[in-house]
């Protein structure tokens, strides 16, 4: 159930940032975390939006995130670096890693930066969009705690390790792929379970490793990798680059943000940034991207298909709408944020969109 209130994304971001500052985070860093969350809400990726404020705060309070940590470069070369996040917020560590990768890309053509000792870093799209502001291409990965079985396995072993790719276009919105490596978001199974609906075959297995269409059983079991063995392989390779290569956790050594209160998550990320100009003139590239997209959009469509879409296009449209019309939150999230506000002496109501009142005729 959603609230009927509409929140200004800018004010919501200020609200979250102020909360994080009051919880002990430096202003500049609190801004990054808040921007990363609110941007997800703007783009319609509500699962990664301000809904995470409460858990982030709880992990700070329980000393599972260290907002005073020193994020430092442990190893560096012309085009590579390894960053130790010191268990800071994922978004803050990620932002630093991205900036370093971008700097390197501008010099040598490529920046490849691995990160260890980090936390949930929000959406990959957040970083891809930052790099797109400077016309840089990116491939961004992160590992995550266990949710999917290996092919042949019966219980969670790898995370739904996300992959994001950002590529600038000319007249069109950027190509922005940001996907988990599971068939479907676990959230969709939760919704089906709440509604008492069944789920399609192939989404999940039950706790005994058997295929199930029962949403309740699926939640006790595991969500499956996309495309079977192929998704298992993709998810593993993301885990290898983000975790095994960086010194972060991998497989069972990445700890669950919601369930593990003994150990930091030790999430790992991997940022690849490249300078398009080092391959081809950026303007020519953008023209070629526009041709590619106009070609694909011009393809004959199936019945009931209004338009062929490009990765990131829906999210970009939702973002424009929500910037203008405001963000609507689930009641549960609104209540949580209201309580958090109360605790820190802030009113969530201050983040509402201003009502535009027209003068009535004759009054």
């Amino acid at each position: 159930m959603t609230s009927s209130n509409k929140y200004s994304y800018k004010k919501l971001q200020d609200f979250c940032s102020t909360v994080f500052v009051k919880a002990g985070v430096m202003k500049e860093q609190a801004d990054i975390v808040a921007a990363s969350l609110v941007q997800a809400d703007l783009r319609g990726v509500d699962s990664h939006g301000v809904v995470r404020t409460a858990i982030y705060l709880k992990r700070v309070e329980q000393k599972m995130i260290n907002p005073a940590a020193d994020i430092h470069i442990e190893k560096e070369n012309e085009s590579t670096a390894l960053i130790d996040g010191g268990n800071h917020f994922g978004a803050v560590v990620g932002d630093k890693a991205l900036k370093l990768a971008m700097e390197k890309a501008k010099t040598t053509g490529v920046g490849m930066v691995g990160v260890k000792n980090s936390n949930h870093f929000g959406t990959g799209a957040y970083y891809a969009l930052e790099a797109l502001k400077q016309d840089l291409g990116t491939i961004i990965m992160s590992n995550a705690s266990q949710t999917m079985p290996p092919t042949g396995g019966v219980r969670p072993f790898i995370g739904t390790n996300p992959l994001a790719v950002g590529i600038p276009c000319g007249a069109y919105q950027p190509f922005l792929l940001d996907m988990a490596t599971s068939v479907v978001a676990r959230g969709k199974i939760i919704v089906a379970a709440q509604k008492g609906e069944s789920i399609p075959q192939g989404w999940a297995i039950d706790k005994n490793g058997k295929p199930t269409t029962n949403a309740e059983e699926a939640l006790e079991g595991s969500v499956l990798p996309l495309g079977g063995t192929k998704g298992y392989g993709i998810s593993m390779f993301i885990d290898i680059l983000s975790g095994v290569l960086t010194g972060a956790g991998f497989g069972k050594y990445v700890h669950n943000m919601y369930e593990d209160w003994e150990k930091p998550q030790n999430v790992g990320h991997f940022f690849i940034t490249f300078d398009i100009n080092k391959f081809i003139d950026i303007q020519e590239f953008k023209n070629r991207m526009d041709l590619y997209i106009s070609d694909v959009k011009g393809e004959p469509r199936g019945e009931d298909v209004d338009e062929i879409l490009i990765p990131g296009e829906i999210e970009s449209r939702i973002s424009e709408q929500r910037k203008k019309n405001g963000i609507i939150l689930p009641l549960k999230v609104e209540n949580e944020l209201t309580e958090i506000g109360l605790k820190y002496g802030l009113s969530l109501k201050d983040a509402l969109m201003k009502k535009v009142c027209k003068e009535s005729e004759g009054v």
Copy 2:
């Protein structure tokens, strides 16, 4: 139907190489093309093996591949390069691009090399295995001619653009993912059609864009990307890096190897190579990979599952077997190669494994 003859992979490679030399290819380059094909047969990826000899030769004869081309670096930076393949064999161009990427990785940590004006380059695994000999990690991509529709489309627009990832391990075989971005290889649908069997829902659409389980209808339609919209996005991003960024063809501008005799293919490839030592000591990395793999192999398994496998593991085992016991070819391929041999004054029989005869007792 397969022949009962067993071929020595080394002799089969010599046979193919000699054929290419006689068709006008330089010895060193013919060796690369032959090695790439035979390695695919060794690893059980027969679709990319010596079955391609005939079409490669035909394209040389029809001047659709230029074996005398100058492959040159068009643009270069510390960590990047753009190579113009001059329409040489894909494997020869790919080999040059890989070597350049490896050289750069050893210096700056990363090599990222794009390729245009190339042809079918065999399997991505071939290049990944070359880099693995030097303990380098790789991400390798290529685009291909149109076989899959975009989400919402009804006819082929993008290729089943392959992605390969190679990562060294210690005690275990390397992690070697090499996959097309389709749900399933088109070859499996061909086999089902030949047997008059139906195919599972979700593999393909018919020529009107409707889901079909009829293999014949599927062959007139399109094979689908893995994981629906996600596979469509992955395949597009491979097309963007391999084609749009490099100046090669992309989408409909990559020409079909079997059907287009007017224009060269203009395939594009993209090689990313990285030096693990620049992030973490290679021995420590290998130990971590071994732990990762032993963890996943130790997971509880589903009923009827003997073993949890790692990407590339089956292929590596088949390769060991075929090196020892020989390669068996489909009758059609054996006949084709025999004819090719006759044309160039070579006998395919010279590539058979030697029969090991034991002395009979008392004789």
